[in-house]
C-alpha cells in the first residue's frame, strides 16, 4: 500500500509542477530584447571615468596632481599637466585611461581633490582591439561639449 501511496503522491507532485510551468506560458515575458530596446542605466552606474564639465569654466578642473594615478590599483590612468605661463595653475594637457584594465573601483573619483572626475554611463564597451580601450578623456570632453 505504501508503494501505491508513494506513486500517487509522486504523480501528484509532478502534476503540481506542470501546473506551475503551464501558467507561465501566457504571462508577460520578463526579458528585454536588448539591441531593440534598452533599459535606463541606474543613476549610480559606474562606467569608465570621464571629466565633469563645470559651468563656471566650461571645462574640466583637472590640475594634473596625479592623485588618481597613484591611487589606481591597476595603473590605468596616465595624466600629464602643463603650465601655460609661469604663474598660472597647472592644467591637465593629457589624460588617458586604459579602460581594458580598469576594475571600476572608483578610487580615482573618491580621491580627486578637485572633484573633476565622474563615472560615465557608458556600457557598450566591447571592442575589437585592446587599444580601443584607451580613452582620451580631454578629447572626450571636447567632443561632448
Amino acid at each position: 500500500m505504501g508503494m501505491i501511496k508513494d506513486i500517487v503522491e509522486g504523480g501528484w507532485s509532478l502534476i503540481a509542477g506542470m501546473w506551475v510551468t503551464i501558467r507561465r506560458i501566457y504571462r508577460p515575458v520578463v526579458t528585454v530584447q536588448y539591441p531593440r530596446e534598452c533599459l535606463d542605466m541606474s543613476p549610480a552606474y559606474r562606467g569608465h571615468i570621464e571629466f565633469e564639465q563645470f559651468p563656471e569654466t566650461g571645462s574640466h578642473n583637472c590640475v594634473a596632481c596625479g592623485t588618481c594615478m597613484r591611487f589606481c590599483p591597476t595603473n590605468v590612468i596616465k595624466v600629464q599637466g602643463e603650465k601655460t605661463h609661469t604663474h598660472s595653475e597647472k592644467r591637465a594637457s593629457l589624460y588617458f585611461i586604459d579602460f581594458s584594465h580598469c576594475s571600476l573601483c572608483g578610487l580615482c573619483v573618491v580621491n580627486c581633490p578637485t572633484q573633476t572626475l565622474k563615472f560615465s554611463g557608458e556600457y557598450e564597451l566591447a571592442h575589437y582591439s585592446r587599444w580601443d580601450g584607451v580613452i582620451d578623456l580631454i578629447q572626450r570632453l571636447e567632443e561632448s561639449a
Binding site: 509532478l14 509542477g17 506542470m18 506551475v20 507561465r24
Partner: protein, 334 residues
C-alpha cells in the same frame, strides 16, 4: 522482356506509391523537425518567461532553417582515434528506421503508404534499431562521455521496450489485429485511452524514455555527460541525430495517436464537424508532442539507477498486471 514487363505491371502502382510515399515522408520528416525545433524553443521560452526565436521570419519561424544552413556549413570533425567507418555510419543508421516507420502509419483513412498486417510489429522492430545506432555512435567516438551515454542508452531502451510492448499488447488483443487501420477502426466507439488509461500512461512514459526525452534523457544528460553519445559529432552529422530525435518524437506521438487516441477519427462528440481525418490526426499528434515538450521543461532528470528501478519495479509489473486483467476482461466480453 515479358518477365520484366510482368514485374513492372506487378510493381507498378505499388512502386509508384512507395516512391511518392518515401518522398512525402522525407519532406514531412524534415519539415516536422524544423517545426518541432522551433516549437520546442518557443514553448520553452514562454514557459521560462522569455520570447525565444524572433529575429528570422515571423515569430522566428525560419530560425531552424537558418540553424540548419549553419550546421550544413560546419566542418565535420572526426576525433583522431575514432572508428571512422562506424563513426560515419551512426548518424545515417539513426535516421534510417525513422523513414521506415512512417510507411505504416495511417495519417488518414486513405493516406497511408502501406497497410501491412504486421504494422505495429514493424514499427517496434525498427524503433529498436535506433538504439543500435546510438551505441555505434557512442562507441565509435572514442570518448568516455559518449561511451557512458551509449551504455546508458542501451540499458534504458532495452528495459523500456518491455513495458512499452506489453502496453501495446493489450491494444492488440482488444482490436484483434496488428494492422494499424484495424486498430483505428476498433476505436470507432471508444478510444483506447478511455478503455485502458493505465496502458496509455505506461505507453506514454515508456515512449518518452524510448525517445530519450527529459526527464529520461540520461543518455544525453547534458549536465553530466556533456552531450552523451553525440558529444563528438558536429555539423550535419549532429544535425542528423537531432533530426532523428525530433522525428522519433513525431513517430511515437503518431503511434500513440493511432493506438490510443483514435487515430484520424474525430472525437465522437465532434463528429459533425467537416474536418478531414488528416487534420485530426496531426492535431492529436502535436498535442501529444506539446505535452512531451512541456514535461521536458518542467522536470529534473532521473538518475540512472532510479530510472531502471522505475522500469523494472513499477512499469513492468504494472504492464503485466494490466495485460492479465485485460485478457480476462476481453475473454468475458467476447
Amino acid at each position: 522482356m515479358a518477365a520484366w514487363q510482368n514485374l513492372v505491371n506487378f510493381l507498378g502502382p505499388d512502386l509508384a506509391r512507395i516512391v511518392v510515399g518515401v518522398v512525402g515522408v522525407l519532406a514531412l520528416v524534415q519539415v516536422n523537425a524544423l517545426f518541432l525545433v522551433w516549437l520546442e524553443r518557443k514553448v520553452a521560452a514562454h514557459i521560462q518567461l522569455r520570447i525565444g526565436p524572433k529575429e528570422v521570419g515571423p515569430f522566428g519561424i525560419l530560425q531552424s532553417i537558418v540553424d540548419g544552413i549553419k550546421l550544413v556549413g560546419k566542418e565535420l570533425i572526426t576525433p583522431r582515434h575514432a572508428d571512422r567507418k562506424l563513426f560515419m555510419l551512426a548518424p545515417i543508421a539513426v535516421f534510417l528506421p525513422v523513414l521506415v516507420s512512417f510507411v505504416v502509419i495511417p495519417f488518414s483513412e486513405r493516406l497511408l503508404i502501406r497497410d501491412m498486417n504486421v504494422g505495429v510489429l514493424l514499427i517496434f522492430a525498427f524503433s529498436t534499431f535506433n538504439v543500435l545506432a546510438v551505441l555505434v555512435g557512442g562507441w565509435a567516438s572514442n570518448n568516455k562521455y559518449s561511451l557512458l551515454g551509449a551504455v546508458r542508452a542501451v540499458a534504458q531502451n532495452v528495459a523500456y521496450e518491455i513495458p512499452l510492448l506489453l502496453a501495446v499488447l493489450s491494444v492488440v488483443m482488444w482490436s484483434n489485429s496488428l494492422q494499424m487501420s484495424e486498430i483505428v477502426a476498433s476505436q470507432s466507439k471508444v478510444w483506447h485511452v478511455f478503455s485502458m488509461p493505465v496502458a496509455t500512461l505506461i505507453f506514454l512514459i515508456c515512449a518518452t524514455a524510448e525517445t530519450n526525452r527529459a526527464p529520461f534523457d540520461i543518455p544525453e544528460a547534458e549536465s553530466e555527460l556533456v552531450a552523451g553519445f553525440h558529444t563528438e559529432y558536429s555539423g550535419m552529422r549532429f544535425a542528423l541525430f537531432f533530426l532523428a530525435e525530433y522525428s522519433n518524437m513525431l513517430i511515437v506521438s503518431a503511434v500513440a495517436t493511432t493506438l490510443f487516441f483514435g487515430g484520424w477519427k474525430s472525437p465522437p462528440f465532434l463528429g459533425f464537424l467537416p474536418v478531414p481525418g488528416l487534420i485530426w490526426f496531426f492535431a492529436k499528434t502535436y498535442a501529444l508532442i506539446f505535452v512531451t515538450i512541456w514535461v521536458r521543461w518542467t522536470f529534473p532528470r532521473l538518475r540512472f539507477d532510479q530510472l531502471m528501478n522505475f522500469c523494472w519495479k513499477i512499469m513492468i509489473p504494472a504492464a503485466l498486471l494490466h495485460l492479465v486483467v485485460y485478457a480476462g476482461i476481453i475473454k468475458i466480453v467476447r
